[in-house]
């Protein structure tokens, strides 16, 4: 069955395989490549429609500096961090707690609560646009950091709870029985047993949630208005001029915006440790 290694004695198949892999990779990376190249171009190139070719003049510093000079990119960046970091932390903390309780303490109604967490993920978020905007306006949170933080925490926690519940449920149940037999309270169990063992799951979740919140454009536009609150995704559109767009500058800004999620991945990578529960049970 798939995936099956291609035998050594089929050079043609192996060659075709390598070629196809390269092709798929190229296709996949082509847009990114174009954006990177464009971020090096001069505005003249953009005007001339040279989007794919080699830049006639490479002006890396000019373009990237322009991002910060022509717009409040730095402010937007800060806004994004102010929204994304606390939201991500809150989602991780909350989902570890809900996941622990839902996976280890069967109480009446647990299934219903779990179903609500999961079901919330299946609602198309767009249909909630008007009610949520109205809610935020009514509560006076519209156009504040809180609007986006609260919204993202509420909606990311649903998926994160599903993820954490399943991960915690897969931990050996004897560990929890042992802790309980040793007199550990549920809080102590959460802090001393669960938290250290779910580190890989939290790292994966941190990347997902961070990227998701960081990249969100829709809700940023719906729930914010002023430059003092706007995250970088919404701010990016300010760079587009009214008549002509300086695509080279926009590209440079886009690349800058993509940096934090990538950094996040490398930061979290060392927590992806397999076999954390090795030695817990049996041979």
């Amino acid at each position: 069955m798939y995936p099956r290694a291609i035998p050594e004695n089929r050079p043609l198949s192996r060659f075709a395989y390598g070629l196809l892999v390269a092709l798929v990779l190229a296709l996949w990376l082509l847009p990114l490549f174009a954006v990177i190249m464009t971020s090096f171009r001069s505005f003249d190139d953009v005007m001339a429609g040279n989007y794919w070719g080699w830049p006639s003049k490479i002006q890396v510093f000019e373009n990237y500096a322009a991002v910060f000079q022509q717009s409040k990119m730095l402010d937007y960046f800060l806004n994004s961090l102010i929204i994304t970091i606390p939201s991500t932390i809150a989602v991780l903390v909350l989902s570890t707690m809900t996941g622990f309780v839902l996976s280890r303490y069967p109480f009446p109604g647990a299934m219903v609560i779990f179903a609500l967490f999961v079901g919330g993920n299946f609602l198309p978020q767009q249909i909630m646009m008007i009610p949520i905007r109205d809610l935020m306006v009514a509560t006076g949170l519209y156009d504040t950091f809180w609007a986006l933080i609260l919204f993202h925490v509420a909606f990311q926690t649903g998926f994160a709870t599903l993820f954490m519940r399943n991960f915690i449920a897969a931990l050996p149940s004897e560990l929890f029985q042992a802790a309980r037999a040793e007199g550990a309270s549920p809080w102590q169990t959460l802090i001393h047993i669960v938290a250290p063992l779910v580190r890989p799951a939290l790292a994966a979740l941190a990347i997902l949630v961070f990227t998701f919140i960081w990249n969100d454009y829709f809700w940023a536009v719906v729930l914010t208005q002023s430059d003092a609150v706007k995250p970088v995704t919404a701010g990016l559109s300010n760079l587009r001029g009214e008549w002509v767009s300086q695509w080279n500058i926009v590209s440079a800004a886009t690349i800058l915006v993509a940096v934090p999620p990538v950094l996040m991945f490398f930061l979290m990578q060392k927590h992806f440790i397999s076999g954390l529960t090795m030695g817990a049970v049996k041979g």
Binding site: P172, E174, L175, Q177, A178, A179, R180, A181, E182, G183, A184, S185, Q188, H192, I193, P196, L197, G275, L276, T277, M278, G279, A280, V281, K282, G283
Partner: protein, 379 residues
């Protein structure tokens, strides 16, 4: 003082009746071994004593205190799991000190307790290692050490040695017995292993289908099982059971007719309820059989299989029309255990025999009808 008392424990898992009104009194310092077939409720009983499972009705006291509704941590128990259940992210020392740390004991006290336990179990060199860096036997010791540091009144062991190889098992068995002598705490120990049960227990509890069949010292249970179930459960190889009928019932003995043998005169206990013509089962331990015509009741048999274990020889012989029922091997052969290496050729014809005085008689309800036998045979 009673250490653990179980009064009328009853538990259901949904529709399934897991524990059926269990009563048991355990004295301080006893080493209780619970045995029984798989699924009979041994682990369930242990978990209810630990407080990890609740009971429907009944009462549990530990050290005279009613703990039926108490949290496991407040019961003065420590449990050792079959699968060790070590915390994988903590070192051996942290594992062993966990319970005390959760109880917010001073660090110095924890250190002393951990050192002491490590000394007893000879794992002092391993204290800084993680569980995954240990061998199976060492892990088992850490699991036991974790129980010791909390100095509980009652230790609960759920098949703690079943993951170890035979040599390590023997070693740990001896160590556990020594530990028990050293600590003097009450221990309740679940096992499948006959040898563990016979050697470690001060009393054995035989469980079957969620109910206690018999409680008593290992030798008492072996010599005087109250019914066919206990007789068949203790002893490896298993007792031979041969179906027959009574042809004559006197005041203190009965004549029993077995296929292929002359009627046997077997003693009856006082008050044994059996009538002439009742179906009965005769039980004969494999070691009560002898090869050759020296015994009072004998018959010819053909050797089917010989297991020569060096120190002993187990012979499976087809003695039909004399046939056994419910044997380990699933055949109707008679199992004979001989005390040393004996040259018995497969397929040869031999004469097997036993002394009716060594036989047990069980009624149709399984109850033992023969009078008590001495626990130690005088020779």
């Amino acid at each position: 003082m009673n250490s653990v008392e179980l009064i009328g424990l009853d538990k259901h898992y949904g529709q399934y009746h897991a524990l059926k009104s269990l009563d048991l009194t355990i004295e301080k310092g006893e080493f209780i071994v619970m045995v029984g077939p798989s699924g009979c409720g041994k682990s369930t009983l242990l978990k209810t004593i630990a407080g990890l499972e609740t009971v429907d009705t009944g009462k549990i006291t530990i050290g005279g205190k009613d703990v039926t509704r108490a949290e496991p941590g407040d019961r003065g128990i420590a449990m050792v799991f079959q699968s060790y259940a070590l915390y994988p992210h903590m070192t051996v020392a942290e594992n062993m000190g966990f319970g005390l740390r959760m109880a917010r004991r001073p660090k110095a006290e924890i250190d002393v307790a951990v050192r002491r336990a490590a000394d007893i179990l000879r794992i002092t060199e391993q204290l800084d290692k993680l569980p995954k860096q240990l061998s199976g036997g060492q892990r088992q010791r850490v699991a036991i050490g974790r129980a010791i540091t909390r100095s509980p009144d009652v230790f609960l062991f759920d098949e703690p040695l079943s993951n170890l190889d035979a040599a390590l098992r023997t070693q740990m068995r001896v160590e556990l017995s020594t530990l028990h002598a050293e600590l003097g705490s009450t221990m309740i120990y679940v096992t499948h292993d006959q040898v563990e049960a016979m050697t470690m227990a001060s009393r054995i509890v035989v469980l079957n289908k969620g109910a206690i069949e018999q409680v008593g010292s290992p030798l008492a249970l072996y010599a005087n099982p109250v019914n066919r179930f206990v007789a068949g459960f203790l002893g490896a190889p298993r007792m031979n059971f041969i179906e027959g009928t009574t042809t004559e019932v006197g005041t203190d003995d009965a004549l029993v007719q077995l296929a292929g043998l002359a009627p046997l005169r077997i003693a009856l206990r006082q008050g044994a309820t059996v009538k002439t013509g009742d179906p009965v089962t005769v039980g004969i331990r494999p070691e009560a059989f002898a090869v050759g015509g020296s015994k009072p009741a004998s018959c010819p048999a053909r050797v089917r299989l010989v297991e020569n274990l060096g120190r002993e020889t187990v012979v499976y012989a087809d003695a039909s029309p004399l046939v056994t029922s419910g044997s380990d091997t699933g055949t109707r052969n008679v199992t004979i255990q001989l005390g040393s290496a004996v040259a018995v050729a497969p397929n040869s014809e031999i004469t097997i025999g036993f002394d009716p005085a060594d036989a047990y008689l069980f009624g149709s309800d399984g109850a033992t009808l023969t009078p008590a036998k001495p626990e130690i045979q005088s020779r």
